[in-house]
């Protein structure tokens, strides 16, 4: 079952064309990695899918619904985390999650908050203001927020940047488990190409707003005659 379908997506800003006809789909229980150098259009793509940026042309369908017409309905089953987005510093960990639990209409918010905080091993930080969190703890809090509503589609923009290797590995394992057990679909951008190899079922390679390579990691590696996504990254960039 297709969870997300992006068709001929274009986004033109005042002086730049950030996306030039991007098309792909994401199936239920699939982790799709989005690779590309800085300025390739990865973040614009995520923002268009989330309805934060209006595409110039093209179409985004989530759960078979169009974002511009069913925004609220779609977003109640989607969530997002980015290492570049934080939560209000003056609120405690728990208060932040209470606010988002209400926004996502979670029934029994206290119990769910405990579950997600325990999942990311930050339950002991619940009374601490987010101002006092380390970068890694903040990232885990954002991931906890992203799991609050038991999303069917998760958009992660560099989710493990700032995490130590142990927690990053735990996060990856958790995503894999949720994918297997709950059919979670994930759109995942990362500059950590080794991580992408481990996590993503399929990757798309964005460059200057276009998809220039797409497929399962192993297939892409063999078709380009390279041993890792990192080698592929440099090879593709050199043209």
């Amino acid at each position: 079952m297709v969870i997300l379908r992006v068709e001929a997506l274009e986004k033109e800003f005042a002086r730049t064309r950030a996306l030039k006809g991007v098309s792909f789909s994401l199936r239920e229980g699939e982790i799709l990695g989005v690779l590309g150098p800085n300025g390739a259009g990865k973040t614009t793509l995520i923002h268009c899918i989330l309805g934060l940026v209006e595409p110039t042309k093209g179409r985004v369908e989530v759960f078979g619904l169009q974002m511009d017409r069913h925004r609220s309905e779609i977003l109640s089953r989607v969530n997002f985390a980015s290492s570049y987005v934080s939560l209000p510093y003056s609120l405690t960990v728990e208060e932040n999650l209470v606010v988002y639990a209400y926004l996502y209409g979670i029934s029994n918010p206290r119990q769910r908050i405990r579950e997600v905080l325990e999942l990311f091993e930050i339950w002991h930080l619940r009374g601490k203001t987010t101002r006092g969190l380390s970068t890694g703890q903040m990232t885990r809090l954002c991931l906890a927020k992203a799991m609050l509503n038991r999303p069917k589609l998760l958009m992660l923009d560099e989710p493990t940047a700032g995490l130590d290797p142990e927690i990053a590995a735990k996060t990856r394992t958790l995503l894999m488990r949720l994918k297997e057990c709950e059919g979670l679909s994930v759109l995942y951008t990362s500059h950590n190409l080794r991580e992408m190899e481990k996590v993503a079922d399929r990757v798309i390679f964005l460059h200057e707003g276009r998809i220039i390579a797409e497929g399962p990691s192993s297939q892409l590696l063999s078709s380009h005659g390279v041993g890792s996504l990192e080698e592929l990254f440099f090879k593709v960039l050199k043209g």
């Binding site: 309805g51 934060l52 987005v85 209000p88 609120l91 209400y102």
Partner: protein, 262 residues
Amino acid sequence: MSLRRVWAVFLRQAYLYRRSFPRALEVFYWPTLDILLWGFVSIYLQKSSAGLPRFVAFFLGALILWDILFRAQQGITVSFLEDMWARNLINLFVSPMRVSEYLAGLVLVSILKVVISFVVMSTLAGLFYSFSIFKLGLLLLPMVLNLVAMGWAIGIVTMALILRFGQEAEVLAWAVAFLFMPISAVFYPVDVLPPLLRGVAFFVPSSHTFEAMRGAINGDIRVVELATATVENAVYIVLSLIFFRLIYRNALKRGVLPKIGE
């Protein structure tokens, strides 16, 4: 509209004020300072100009009512700025929350700020100057509602301007309301204004409200003034919402929503 989501927007701001002593202090600090400073000034002026009747009532009544407008506007705009400063807007706008729910949540924050400020100012005015704003009687209610409505309209327009021009425009949050102060005829009758500004003042709902307040203190009930203010406010609220919607749509097209506050 989901009341839970409206409550979430309110709760986020309420937590902020509970956790932040300087912010909580600010809610009490300015109303207290205003009423003390201008209260004593008005007593001094009343003593030195014996011919001017009910000077303290005119002045303190105007001060308390103007603060209602200002707090109503601040409740909207500063709360939006708080989300902008915290870089929290992305998280909010990728949630199922609708823009209307966000605005409704900010309206609740605004009501809380108005109530606190009103209680502080009217209590101090009673304690220090034996002035009761409730002497305005039932007319106080339409006056307050009109000023709150105008504060919301200004707040929504200011928020739209910040959305359009980014963080550089945040000073507008404190400046825009004061732009209306001279033509609102807060502390003097509209007649004092030159003819051109008198014409402008006709289209400013607060000018009618303050005229009605002065009338009420003199025992003259000016229903027409309050009705005019009400009609104008209804129009301005609708226009401010349309303006905000246009700017919001434009922000989606320009892709500035994720970047605002950076």
